[in-house]
C-alpha cells in the first residue's frame, strides 16, 4: 500500500504555486513550464489551485511580512507527506531584498524546504531538473530519506517569540 502511494505520488505529483513576494520572474517561468515548449505535464506534474490537493508547494519570493502568515497557513493546509521547493534566489535566501524592512527572508524561515532551486530566475529547465531530483528522492525506499531528515521546526515560532519580548 505504501509503495502504491509513493508510486502514485512520484508518477503524478500535484503542485501548488504560492508567490510570497516574488517579482513575477520566477512565477512566469513556472507558468511557462506548462506551455508546449517545456510541458511538464508529460512527467505527470499538474498545477493544482487548492492546497488541500497538493503534494508539492512551489514557493517563490522573499516572504514579505504580509505573506508570512499566509505561507504557513497554505503549508499547514496541505496533506502529509508534503514537500516544499524554494524556487529562485529570493525564495532560497531573500536575495537582494534580504534585510529590507518588510522582508522576512528565504522561504525556509517559515516552512521546512526540501529542495532549493537557485537562479534569478532559474531557467525552466533548471526548475524541471529540481523537481525531478526531488521526485527521485521521494521514490527512494529509505526510511530516512534526505528530505525527511531535513524537516525542522519552522522558524515562524522564533519570529513570534521575538515579537513578544
Amino acid at each position: 500500500m505504501v509503495n502504491t502511494k509513493t508510486w502514485a505520488r512520484v508518477k503524478s505529483p500535484w503542485v501548488l504555486h504560492f508567490n510570497s513576494g516574488a517579482c513575477n520572474g520566477c512565477d512566469i517561468e513556472i507558468l511557462a513550464l506548462l506551455t508546449p515548449k517545456y510541458d511538464v505535464e508529460r512527467f505527470g506534474i499538474k498545477l493544482e489551485p487548492s492546497p488541500r490537493h497538493a503534494d508539492v508547494l512551489l514557493a517563490t519570493g522573499c516572504v514579505t511580512h504580509q505573506c508570512a502568515e499566509r505561507l504557513k497557513r497554505v503549508y499547514d493546509q496541505m496533506p502529509q507527506p508534503k514537500f516544499v521547493v524554494a524556487i529562485g534566489a529570493c525564495a532560497c535566501s531573500g536575495s537582494v531584498f534580504e534585510g529590507n524592512y518588510n522582508v522576512v527572508g528565504g522561504v525556509d524561515k517559515i516552512v521546512p524546504v526540501a529542495a532549493y532551486i537557485p537562479g534569478c530566475p532559474p531557467r525552466p529547465e533548471a526548475i524541471i531538473d529540481g523537481v525531478i531530483k526531488l521526485l527521485s528522492v521521494i521514490s527512494t525506499p529509505k526510511k530516512e530519506s534526505p528530505v525527511q531528515a531535513h524537516r525542522a521546526e519552522p522558524a515562524i515560532a522564533e519570529v513570534k517569540q521575538n515579537g513578544k519580548q
Binding site: G25, A32, T35, P36, Y101, N102, P121
Partner: protein, 479 residues
C-alpha cells in the same frame, strides 16, 4: 488647469524627507508637457488638503504617501495601512530618514475575516492572496448581491519589499540591478527609466547606437509582455487553448531576449551611459526571421481576439470605462487608449529614438475589455514594425560612454511607456554615489482604481476577464 486641458492628469505624488520638512511633490502631466508642483509641510504637522474631490485619480497616490512618508491628506485620511503590513506599528514611516527600521519588530497576526458581511443579502467573496486566478498574492474583497458586484475593496501591499528604501542604501550602479527586480515582466523598462533619470542629472549624451539598442530591448519586452497577457486572459476566462497558443509563440521572443541580452528574464542590459551588450551582426537575420514569423501569425491572433465568439461573449461590453472616467481617474497605457484617451509617452514626450521611428498610436473608443485587448493586439504589430525599422536603421558606433560613479546634487523625473502604461522614476541625488530618494510609480497602481469602478454593477463571473484586461502586475504596484 484641469478644465483648460482635459488630458491633464496626476501621475503621482512623491513624498520626500527634507530634514525638518516633508516635501510633497505632485507630478502632473498635460497633453503637451510634464511638470512638478512642489509643496513643503513641517514634519510635526504634515497636513495638506486632499485632491480627490477635484481629481479622484489622486486617491491611491495620497494613501501611499501617507502610509510610507506620514503626510496627512485632510479629507482622505488613512485608516489602518495602505501598503504596509496590518501589524506595522503606527507612527513609523519607513521612508523617513530619521527612523531606525532595524528596531521595528513585527508580530505575525492571523488575518480575521469572514465570508459573510453584515447586511443580510450581500455576501463578501474574498479573492486572494492565494487564488488560482491570481499569480501574485493580493486580496480583493468583492461584495455581491446575488450575482451582481456591489463593492470591491482592494488590499494591496502583499509584495511590498521596500525597494524605494533599499535604493537609498545602494550605489547607482547597484541600483540599476535592484530596480530591475521590481518586476520580472517589464524589467528593462524599470532599469531603463532609472538610468535615463540618472543620465538627466548627469547631463549625459548617450551614443546613437545605444539609443537604438535600448529601443530594441524595450520593444522586445513589450512583445513578450503583451503575448503573456493574451495567454493569461485566455486562462482567466477558462479558454486554455488560447493560453497555450500565445505562450507557445512567446517562447521565440524569450529566445530573442536571451540572444540579445544573455538571459531569458533579467537581461541587465541598461547601464548609466549606454547599454552593456551590442547586437551581433550575425544575429540580425535570426531576429528578423522571428519577427517575420510572428508577423505572419498576426492575422490568426487578431481573428481570435476580435471575432472568436467565446472571447467576444466574455469580453465585449464587459467593464466599460468611459472616456470621462478614464481622464478623471488618470489611468494610463492601453486602458486609457482603449477608452479614447490618446496618451502614449512615446508620442507625447518621445524618449530615445521614438521620434525618429514611424509608428501609430493605437486608440479605441469602446472602453471595454475587448477594446483593451485589441489595443494591445495592434500594439503588437506596431512593436514588430518598430523592431524591424530599428534593426535596419541602427547606426554603427560605440554603445556606451563612461559615466562617473558619483552624481552631482540634483533631481530629475523620467517617464516612459512601459507595456502597461506610463512608468515614472524620480531620482534625487545628494552629490555622493548613493541616491537620496528614488521614487517609482508603476502603471498598475494608476490603473487599479478603474477596475474598482467598472466592476460595480456587473456579474461576479465577469470580474476575472475585466481584471485581467488591466494586465495587472502587483510586484510593480507594491514595489
Amino acid at each position: 488647469m484641469l478644465e483648460a486641458d482635459e488630458k491633464t492628469g496626476l501621475t503621482t505624488i512623491t513624498g520626500l524627507d527634507l530634514g525638518t520638512n516633508i516635501g510633497v511633490y505632485y507630478h502632473v502631466r498635460t497633453s503637451k508637457s510634464f511638470f512638478t508642483i512642489k509643496a513643503e509641510v513641517p514634519k510635526e504637522n504634515p497636513r495638506l488638503k486632499t485632491l480627490i474631490d477635484i481629481h479622484p485619480g489622486a486617491l491611491f497616490h495620497e494613501l501611499e504617501c501617507a502610509d510610507l512618508m506620514g503626510a496627512i491628506f485632510e479629507g482622505n485620511e488613512l485608516n489602518g495601512h495602505f501598503i504596509l503590513s496590518e501589524n506595522w506599528p503606527n507612527g513609523i514611516y519607513p521612508l523617513r530618514k530619521d527612523i531606525d527600521l532595524s528596531q521595528v519588530k513585527l508580530v505575525p497576526t492571523p488575518e480575521h475575516e469572514t465570508n459573510k458581511s453584515a447586511e443580510g443579502r450581500e455576501v463578501k467573496i474574498i479573492i486572494g492572496p492565494q487564488h488560482p486566478a491570481l499569480l501574485e498574492p493580493e486580496k480583493f474583497s468583492v461584495t455581491v448581491d446575488g450575482e451582481t458586484v456591489t463593492k470591491v475593496e482592494p488590499r494591496i501591499g502583499y509584495v511590498h519589499r521596500g525597494i524605494e528604501k533599499s535604493a537609498e542604501s545602494h550605489t547607482y550602479l547597484q541600483n540599476t540591478y535592484l530596480v530591475e527586480r521590481v518586476c520580472g515582466i517589464c524589467n528593462p523598462c524599470h532599469a531603463y527609466t532609472f538610468v535615463a533619470t540618472v543620465e538627466k542629472i548627469l547631463k549625459l549624451e548617450v551614443p546613437e547606437r545605444a539609443r537604438y539598442l535600448r529601443v530594441i530591448a524595450l520593444e522586445l519586452n513589450r512583445l513578450h509582455s503583451h503575448l503573456l497577457v493574451f495567454g493569461h486572459a485566455g486562462l482567466e476566462i477558462g479558454y486554455e487553448a488560447v493560453f497555450q497558443y500565445f505562450w507557445r509563440d512567446r517562447e521565440p521572443i524569450m529566445d530573442l531576449i536571451e540572444l540579445t541580452s544573455g538571459n531569458r528574464v533579467f537581461g541587465s542590459l541598461m547601464t548609466v551611459g549606454g547599454i552593456r551588450r551590442d547586437i551581433n551582426q550575425e544575429h540580425i537575420p535570426k531576429i528578423k526571421a522571428v519577427i517575420n514569423d510572428l508577423q505572419s501569425k498576426l492575422p490568426f491572433y487578431r481573428k481570435i481576439y476580435t471575432d472568436e465568439p467565446t472571447l467576444r461573449l466574455r469580453m465585449k461590453d464587459v467593464g466599460i470605462l468611459s472616456r470621462e472616467d478614464a481622464l478623471k481617474l488618470s489611468v494610463v497605457g492601453p486602458i486609457a487608449r482603449a477608452s479614447g484617451v490618446d496618451i502614449d509617452v512615446r508620442k507625447d514626450r518621445p524618449y530615445e529614438v521614438y521620434n525618429e521611428i514611424p509608428f501609430k498610436e493605437i486608440v479605441y473608443t469602446d472602453g471595454d475589455t475587448w477594446a483593451r485587448m485589441n489595443v494591445r493586439m495592434d500594439e503588437l504589430e506596431e512593436s514588430l514594425n518598430i523592431l524591424d525599422y530599428a534593426l535596419d536603421h541602427m547606426p554603427a558606433g560605440p554603445i556606451r560612454i563612461e559615466a562617473p560613479r558619483t552624481v552631482p546634487i540634483g533631481e530629475a523625473v523620467s517617464t516612459i511607456e512601459a507595456p502597461r502604461g506610463e512608468l515614472l522614476y524620480y531620482v534625487r541625488s545628494n552629490g555622493t554615489d548613493i541616491p537620496e530618494r528614488v521614487k517609482i510609480r508603476t502603471p498598475t497602481l494608476a490603473n487599479i482604481p478603474s477596475f474598482l469602478k467598472t466592476a460595480i454593477g456587473e456579474s461576479i463571473a465577469d470580474v476575472p476577464s475585466n481584471f485581467v484586461s488591466l494586465d495587472p502586475c502587483f510586484s510593480c504596484t507594491d514595489r
